[in-house]
Symmetry: C2
Subunit: 318 residues, 2 copies
């Protein structure tokens, strides 16, 4: 087996790539644009060409033989079936594809693995990030939406229909009235994503006369504004975070009572709020877990946008 | 490896035992009382003695050598850590025990496995019951309480603190005011157990003047009364089942978005209501899963009270 591996994180705008030692050291990372034209038919070829060019000698003037590459892993923005089948990736234009097989064919048969990007990021955080040293984690990514990944025994739980780890669409909020993108009403994503936190702040501003620094931003308020203000003790921002924490705590408890991981890793843009956010979530999570104090801990993700390439690289090391 | 195996289901009143072919055929089942005195110190010895007696020749006059026994599995009413450690089994009086190790020592070193009884029952249903032919199922047992078990890749998901599959304590009901046994408020068990269904019926009777056959039973109303009446179209019973179905559907959707099994298996006394119950749950589950129609199906358990001995026997066949 080769001593190096490559992780590929295919996004709607760019493809991130990383060359790793199989021990987890990132040797080089680079990026190429995602060519989405003609149903994204050029993406796999572009990835293969880019990997070839890098292996041909751009690191310290030395070329790397394909024989040194244990494999290539790839995260894609859509559900991936256990056999590697991708029915659809809306953001890439892909339909009815086996991306891993295609990339392997384009790279002289090197082993290629493929997974959903949120799941793959979770694997990356387990390997070299906030979950390092653990084998069973659940990652929750609080970004524009809410994504997740369940890792058990150092492997992604894909599920039978590619739905495992779709924690953003767990129903938590009974008094919600607006619809989520998924068609549901009251999904975790509607209240705990950056978008959801900002929306909750707008609602609270509209629904009260509580003075708040957030009123300066008005309808342009962001999740970052809310978290910054909450840390400063702003009453309205604190109210917003009580709502967010309530539903996040509820969802984490539900996950703990289903798969009972060693730890939860919280990532995504919202997690930049750091330890304050963890404390809010932890308090509500404890409230929903009176059954036992011996339970999964909660911590921050560490790899940021690199989680995808780390996890993709880790995909092929089993 | 032996061609037969033994499953032991240790309950608070009696211990059920079964002798199986490793292919899943139940050859003999029997029961012994659970001696709980002195912190349940006699239970393991009683089980060992009983197994010895049966192997000594009670089946068709033929004795069975220990060499023919691939192993003995045991389900116990409490959390079991991945290493077999049992901190406490309230119903048995056990504390700080490794029951599998003890039973193995008492049976000349035969391999013994141990798991939580609800998890073990789920494994049994996967092996020879409602989930036969599947490798990834979640079982929900609607009895006096609500229990569950998550099976992935034909193995029990125990979790890191023995909490996996504790689905009865997932928080679902925000407007609940009474406390659950676990200390929480609004657990699935409070509304979907036999006890919970009867309580909901009492609440609905007290809160309305809707005529109903349930009013004959009054405070003695049972979950069976409610389900029988709902099948006959009784308006109040149907209202109760809408509430029960709502929260069960919500919990199943949450589970599907976490581990995404092939199917859910519904067992326990309440499941004797049969296909009617499945239809109620399915309708609400679909409502909470707009994200995809390609999702886990829902079916009935088939082994009844024997699920525990089947699953225990299956425990040792890996």
């Amino acid at each position: 087996m080769g001593k190096k591996c490559i992780g590929v994180d295919v996004g709607g705008t760019s493809v991130k790539l990383g060359l790793f030692q199989i021990t987890g050291e990132l040797l080089k990372k680079w990026e190429i644009p995602t060519r989405k034209e003609e149903q994204g038919k050029y993406i796999i070829g572009d990835v293969a060409d880019s990997i070839r060019q890098v292996l041909a000698g751009e690191i310290a003037g030395e070329s790397i033989s394909f024989k040194d590459i244990a494999g290539v892993g790839m995260g894609v923005p859509g559900p991936v079936m256990p056999d590697g089948y991708v029915e659809v990736c809306v953001n890439l234009g892909w339909k009815d594809k086996y991306p891993a097989r295609e990339l392997s064919d384009a790279l002289e048969g090197v082993p290629v693995g493929c997974g959903n990007d949120a799941n793959v990021a979770a694997l990356g955080e387990m390997w070299q990030g906030g979950g390092k040293g653990h084998s069973d984690i659940v990652m929750i990514t609080l970004g524009t939406g809410v994504g997740g990944g369940v890792i058990m025994d150092e492997k992604i739980v894909t599920g039978r229909h590619g739905l495992a780890g779709e924690v953003g669409h767990i129903h938590v909020r009974e008094d919600e009235t607006e619809h989520c993108n998924c068609g549901g009403v009251g999904c975790l994503e509607q209240v705990a994503s950056a978008t959801g936190i900002a929306r909750e702040a707008r609602r609270k501003m509209a629904g009260s006369h509580t003075p708040s620094v957030l009123r300066q931003a008005g309808d342009q308020v962001t999740a970052k504004d809310v978290l910054d203000a909450a840390k400063e003790g702003d009453a309205l921002a604190l109210e917003v975070m009580e709502v967010v924490g309530h539903y996040l705590g509820m969802a984490l408890a539900s996950l703990a009572l289903t798969v009972d991981p060693e730890m939860f890793v919280i990532g995504g843009g919202v997690s930049k709020a750091g330890q304050y956010l963890i404390e809010v979530i932890n308090r509500h999570y404890a409230h929903f877990m009176p059954i036992s104090e011996n339970r999964a801990t909660i911590g921050l993700a560490k790899l940021g946008n690199d989680a995808g390439i780390y996890g993709a690289a880790r995909l092929v090391l089993d």
